[in-house]
């Protein structure tokens, strides 16, 4: 800071920064990207370790014996499910009661804002069934949840069977210190949302549910089980929840530790970990695994039934049994033992899970990148915006070239007018608001006038509003009294750059992945755009780097990462469905990505678009 106190040196530093601004920005950008890519390199990451004492050293024995019986129960469940054509509520209630649980049901209904074409549902009515295993000599203050969705078709029957088998086995044990809630939820996330909202008596999304009759106190942890085959080859853990929230890392560690102990192959993002980190293929494997996590987290949607628990500060994960073509198979008894072990350790908890990290990325199950390691990557990108802002600020303070008629220039420049900055700001935000509100409001009108379904109407309206926003600069200037000045666009750009910096900074704190991906595309735009660059080329670049196109690329990139590449035609359809899913996530579960993009990021990008067409 002594550097800044000295006017000479300050001047020197500032002149250095303004003179070398462009090279420094480019350098920072590449440094940021390289830092991010380096995160997956194994020597730069940390090994996972169990931080929670209660789960670390305490030994538990897994003795779950009756996998075959659980499978038989699963088959019985499947038969009843087929007979009823949905959730066999009565059978479940009876079966859970026979296992000595306190059983309750909850009914719910929800009308979606527009039909969900992926899952083919519009008006959803269902019933959740849950049984509570009361811990002996515990005063109903703490609970654990094991849930299994009742999915349509032949999926997840084994999961429900295993859940009932575990309930039966757990009931005969004396060591439970927390109530255990066995939940079978219908209509996957909607049922889970109804149950959780009812449990905590909140209503954030306007769903109708009947109040719960039995509770177990504050829920400490939850596991959601998905299992669709009698034997599995590996176990996958899903961590990404609503709005990119993650459970405490100790939950992932616990899963990993038990997989190691019992000898089950375990994966994250469906990918095994490899030991050849020093080879190129090993590194790219780790990068791909991490990128999958980044993409999933950035989407802000719950990637399993566990995702909705995280809002309530309940550590939760989904475990999926996967049956591939591998030689070595694991039977359900072993899976049951694994879950038993995890529950016994969670039962040992004396405090909520809080010891380990809540912000992390995982290039493999045994390694993680903590927030302290990945934030610099984002910081390097964000600093570009600050450098540009500094540059603009300095240009205000000392105009670069004082010409012969400099006096007149300065007088003209000193009054850019609040209006010339405020008008584009307000108009772009109004466009954003219409992007947020119009698609769902005018779906009926759209369906009347065009031969499209409701869902298509919503998505196409959104795209139409988005595209219409591109015509704005011309309309803005009609509103303005005079011509835009040289100083005017500078002020606007300064405001826009700082706005973007704050916006991205806040986003990255909550959801690093989303913030980083947005920064990756928006920062170059913000850095280079002026009214003096070649218009056509810049316009193309600007459109390509706009949030909508970022989403389109992300869809293709994600498919590529999942090793399921799609043609452009399919990709486009997928893109449309992703937009509708994003909106549904917002209206059904309260995901914040859609409003963030519509109300903040898109208007911000429009400001840069405005600057490009400044006259």
């Amino acid at each position: 800071m002594g550097l800044l106190s000295d006017p000479n040196r300050r001047r020197a530093l500032i002149s250095l920064l303004t003179r070398l601004n462009a090279p420094i920005c480019v350098l920072c950008y590449f440094a940021g990207v390289c830092w991010f890519m380096g995160l997956a390199f194994e020597p730069f990451t940390l090994r996972t370790y169990m931080s929670e004492n209660a789960m670390g050293s305490t030994m538990v024995e897994e003795r779950f014996p009756s996998g075959e019986r659980a499978l038989a129960t699963g088959r019985e469940f499947a038969a009843h499910k087929k007979k009823v054509g949905g959730m066999p509520v009565d059978w479940l209630v009876k079966t859970m009661q026979a296992r000595g649980l306190e059983v309750f049901t909850q009914s719910f209904s929800r009308t979606l804002p527009f039909p969900d074409e992926n899952k083919e549902r519009y008006i959803v009515k269902g019933t959740n069934v849950y049984g509570i295993l009361r811990a002996p000599r515990a005063p109903r203050t703490e609970a654990l949840v094991l849930s299994a969705p009742c999915s349509p078709g032949d999926n997840n029957n084994q999961a429900v069977g295993l859940l009932l088998g575990l309930a039966h086995y757990f009931r005969s044990q004396i060591f439970w210190a927390k109530d255990i809630i066995f939940l079978v939820n219908e209509h996957d996330l909607i049922g889970m949302q109804a149950w959780l909202e009812s449990y905590h008596h909140t209503n954030t999304t306007g769903m109708d549910w009947s109040p719960l009759q039995g509770r177990g106190g504050s829920i400490q942890a939850a596991l959601s089980l998905e299992l669709s085959s009698d034997v599995i080859t590996s176990f996958d853990i899903v961590l990404e929840g609503l709005n990119g929230q993650l459970p405490n890392l100790d939950l992932a560690n616990l899963f990993y530790a038990f997989c190691q102990k019992i000898g089950v192959l375990c994966t994250i993002q469906g990918r095994l970990q490899r030991n050849d980190w020093d080879s190129v293929s090993g590194y790219s494997h780790a990068v791909q695994t991490m990128m999958l996590m980044v993409m999933k987290q950035a989407s802000g949607r719950p990637w399993g039934d566990h995702g909705l628990f995280l809002r309530y500060h309940i550590e939760a994960a989904t475990v999926k049994g996967i049956n591939s073509f591998r030689q070595y198979k694991t039977d359900v008894t072993t899976v049951g033992r694994l879950l038993e072990g995890m529950f016994r350790k969670l039962n040992n908890l004396l405090e909520r899970l809080h010891q380990s990290y809540f912000f992390y990325l995982m290039p493999s199950l045994s390694h993680f990148v903590s927030i302290g390691y990945y934030m610099p990557a984002f910081g390097l990108l964000a600093v570009i915006l600050l450098l540009r802002a500094l540059d603009l600020w300095v240009q205000f303070a000392n105009p670069p070239a004082v010409t012969a008629d400099g006096v007149a220039d300065i007088e003209q420049q000193s009054s850019p007018g609040v209006l010339s900055v405020l008008t584009p700001l307000v108009i772009s935000h109004l466009t954003g608001a219409s992007l947020y509100f119009l698609p769902t409001r005018f779906q009926e009108t759209a369906v009347e006038h065009f031969p499209v379904s409701e869902t298509e109407a919503v998505v196409l309206t959104a795209i139409a509003v988005y595209t219409a926003g591109l015509a704005l600069p011309h309309n803005t200037h009609r509103l303005l009294s005079g011509e835009g000045t040289e100083q005017g666009w500078r002020v606007l750009k300064l405001v826009a750059v700082l706005y973007l910096a704050v916006l991205l900074g806040c986003t990255a704190l909550i959801n690093f992945s989303l913030g980083f991906i947005l920064a990756l595309t928006l920062v170059p735009v913000a850095a280079f755009v002026t009214p003096h660059v070649p218009k056509t080329l810049s316009a193309i670049i600007l459109v390509v780097l706009s949030p909508a196109c970022t989403l389109l690329f992300s869809v293709f990139f994600f498919q590529e990462l999942q090793e399921m590449p799609v043609s452009f035609q399919d990709g486009w359809l997928l893109y449309l469905s992703v937009i509708s899913q994003g909106m549904l996530d917002h209206y059904l579960y309260g995901s914040l990505v859609y409003p963030l993009i519509a109300l903040m990021v898109y208007p911000c990008w429009l400001l840069f678009w405005n600057i490009l067409f400044w006259k």
Binding site: M1, E102, R134, P139, S172, G217, E351, R352
Partner: protein
């Protein structure tokens, strides 16, 4: 003359003692003989076993005649026609001890065992008379009562939560953790100080953390806790009530509790109280109740009653065996061989109301004795085993009551009144406490008294208090609210609410979570903070009153209107305690936090402040040393400096 009388008294006393000794030793020898003969010859054993049993039955009838007096001393009076003047200097005979065990097979297949030990002592601590001689009454408690001028004392330690929906109402309700409520005599001047001292003393007696009771968790309920014994006034200034929901109850609390019994755990029903079994259960609750009671129907003199109760529920599923049967041995890993010799009565009751024709379960060995009682608004029938009679123990000289279930378990019960409570909302700033009270009576409404004591760190917003039943606002007819004071006292909320028939009444109140000082956090702040159970006290309409079954043998004139005298009964229901998370700093990183804060303050703030508030000017470089010396010299010479 006086000397002669004294001599006579002493002589009589000597005779009395020697005769007593002879009787006792004689009994002992016969018993010894019996044992030998049993070992030698089983046939003779059967004969000899019959003989004493006949003798016992006769004795029992004698005792029965003396029962109205309800004192062993009275029996002695009949046996030995000793003048009253002799008995007055020996007041130890003025106390009696009774023990009983009630076993109730529950619908769910679980089993509920309730022990009760009652000592009544004809003495009066209130008059300030110094009592130094104790016989059956535990001295440790007696001293506490007299020292702290306690009128009534109720203390309970409970591990687990009573599941009303599955088990029905308990005989002795108690909240999870420790509960203590005391009525002091009106002679006590500084109640708070006495209360503080008393809790510390009790903490020592019961090996419990009762010393954590202080002003922040003590309340003075205005209506919910009335004296249970005889009392002159009910000014709630002399009442103190506190709960410790965190308290864990274990063996170290059971042992001192057992030591208060006259027979300890050596004989009688207390033999069954083995901790390894009692704590292998679904619910465990032990309590001590001391209160003054009337000695006779006219209530001219007072006696002190000590009731020690122990309730335990055994779980069918965790018992490990597939068979649906219970026995004393399976429950307690002991059988009974004798009553406590000091007990005036020692009985086991088994609730067979739901099982008149033995279609649900069968009890063996069978007993001819039956008893009826109205308990919790319901007329119950009990099989009775009298342990003071030798015949109860049969030929094997031990009693192992066996209950074998025949039918499968039933549905959940619908108790007339039950309640639940939970915290709603998410996040660490605000929340809402919901209390639900169910009235399952088909056509009668009844009032309940709700007591809520909430710690100060949950700041209740009382203006958000709502009481709704059946979707309509239900205005409480009485509200007593004492606001909390930070770090001094908790919130106290008492309400009298009318519960409409067949309804759920929901009481909600919002709260804000306070930020604690860093020293006020518990060692495990991330576990959460407990809020004690709410207490719901109610007079519930009795089911006996609903009963219109007129097949029973009753006089015709009494059966027309289905109303009975005991048309309502008192019930106390405790809700679950709550576990609430407060905003918690990350205590594991004080070092990082200190470093970061210091850096930010020192470097960031200091320099920025400097930059913002000072104006900077270019200063001439410092003159050299030679120049300065030259200047000093010039100054001394009075010439302007260079």
């Amino acid at each position: 003359m006086a000397a002669y009388r004294c001599l006579r008294c002493a002589w009589l006393l000597l005779v009395f003692i020697s005769s007593w000794y002879v009787v006792v030793s004689g009994e002992e020898t016969t018993q010894g003989d019996d044992r030998v003969s049993v070992a030698d010859n089983p046939q003779i054993a059967a004969d000899t076993a019959e003989q004493p049993s006949e003798e016992r039955r006769w004795e029992a009838t004698q005792v029965d005649k003396a029962v109205p007096d309800d004192a062993a001393a009275a029996a002695h009076k009949q046996d030995f026609p000793v003048p009253d003047s002799v008995l007055t200097p020996t007041p130890q005979f003025k106390d009696t001890f009774k023990e009983e065990l009630v076993i109730r097979p529950l619908h769910s297949g679980d089993i509920y065992a309730s022990f009760q030990f009652r000592t009544v002592w004809e003495t009066d601590f209130t008059r300030g008379s110094k009592v130094s001689h104790y016989r059956l009454f535990p001295k440790s408690l007696g001293q506490v009562i007299s020292k702290f001028s306690v009128q009534e004392l109720h203390i309970s330690f409970t591990q687990g939560y009573w599941r009303t929906m599955q088990w029905g109402q308990p005989y002795h309700p108690s909240p999870p953790g420790a509960e203590l409520w005391v009525w002091f005599q009106d002679t006590v001047t500084d109640v708070d100080a006495t209360w503080k001292e008393l809790t510390n003393v009790l903490s020592g007696i019961f090996c419990a953390s009762l010393n954590f009771i202080d002003s922040t968790n003590t309340v003075r309920p205005s209506a919910s806790f009335k004296p249970l014994g005889i009392a002159n006034g009910t000014d709630h200034r002399f009442l103190r009530y506190a709960t410790l929901p965190r308290e864990i109850v274990c063996t170290e609390n059971l042992t001192p509790w057992k030591k208060l019994l006259p027979c300890g755990s050596k004989a009688g029903l207390a033999v069954l109280l083995k901790s390894e079994k009692l704590f292998h259960s679904s619910f465990h609750s032990q309590a001590v109740h001391i209160r003054p009671v009337c000695q006779d129907p006219q209530c001219k003199t007072m006696s002190l009653e000590l009731r020690q109760t122990l309730n335990v529920v055994f779980d069918l599923h965790t018992s490990g065996q597939g068979k649906r049967e219970w026995s004393l041995f399976k429950m307690f890993s002991r059988t009974l061989t004798e009553a406590c010799p000091l007990a005036a009565s020692s009985k086991i009751y088994i609730d067979i109301t739901d099982n008149p024709q033995e279609e649900q379960f069968e009890v063996s060995p069978a007993t001819p004795l039956l008893s009826q009682a109205v308990v919790l608004g319901d007329r119950r029938t009990f099989s009775v085993y009298d342990l003071t009679q030798q015949v109860t123990f049969g030929t094997v000289r031990s009693l192992n009551v066996l209950i074998r279930w025949k039918s499968t378990e039933g549905d959940m019960l619908r108790p007339l009144l039950h309640a639940e409570r939970y915290v709603a909302g998410y996040g660490l700033q605000t929340g809402e406490i919901h209390t639900l009270m169910y009235n399952n009576h088909p056509f009668r409404s009844f009032p309940v008294l709700l007591l809520d004591s909430v710690p100060w760190y949950l700041r209740l917003y009382v203006h958000t208090l709502t009481v709704t039943s059946k979707g309509k606002d239900n205005k409480p007819s009485y509200i007593h609210y004492e606001p909390s004071k930070d770090r001094v006292r908790p919130h106290l909320l008492e309400m009298l609410v009318q519960l409409p028939p067949h309804s759920v009444t929901e009481i909600t109140v919002q709260f804000e979570r306070a930020l604690l000082k860093w020293t006020e956090y518990t060692p495990d702040p991330n576990h959460g903070f407990y809020v004690g159970s709410s207490v719901i006290s109610a007079l519930v309409p009795s089911t006996v009153a609903i009963n219109t079954n007129i097949t029973e043998e009753q006089p015709l004139f009494s059966t027309f209107f289905p109303c009975k005298e005991e048309s309502s009964y008192f019930v106390r229901v405790y809700t679950e305690p709550l576990l609430v998370n407060l905003p918690t700093p990350d205590f594991s990183m004080p070092y990082n936090v200190i470093c970061l804060t210091c850096t930010v303050v020192a470097v960031g703030y200091g320099s920025l402040y400097n930059l913002l508030t000072r104006s900077f000017q270019i200063e001439e470089p410092n003159p050299g040393l030679a120049k300065r010396i030259a200047n000093i010299i010039r100054k001394m010479r009075g010439v302007p400096p260079l």
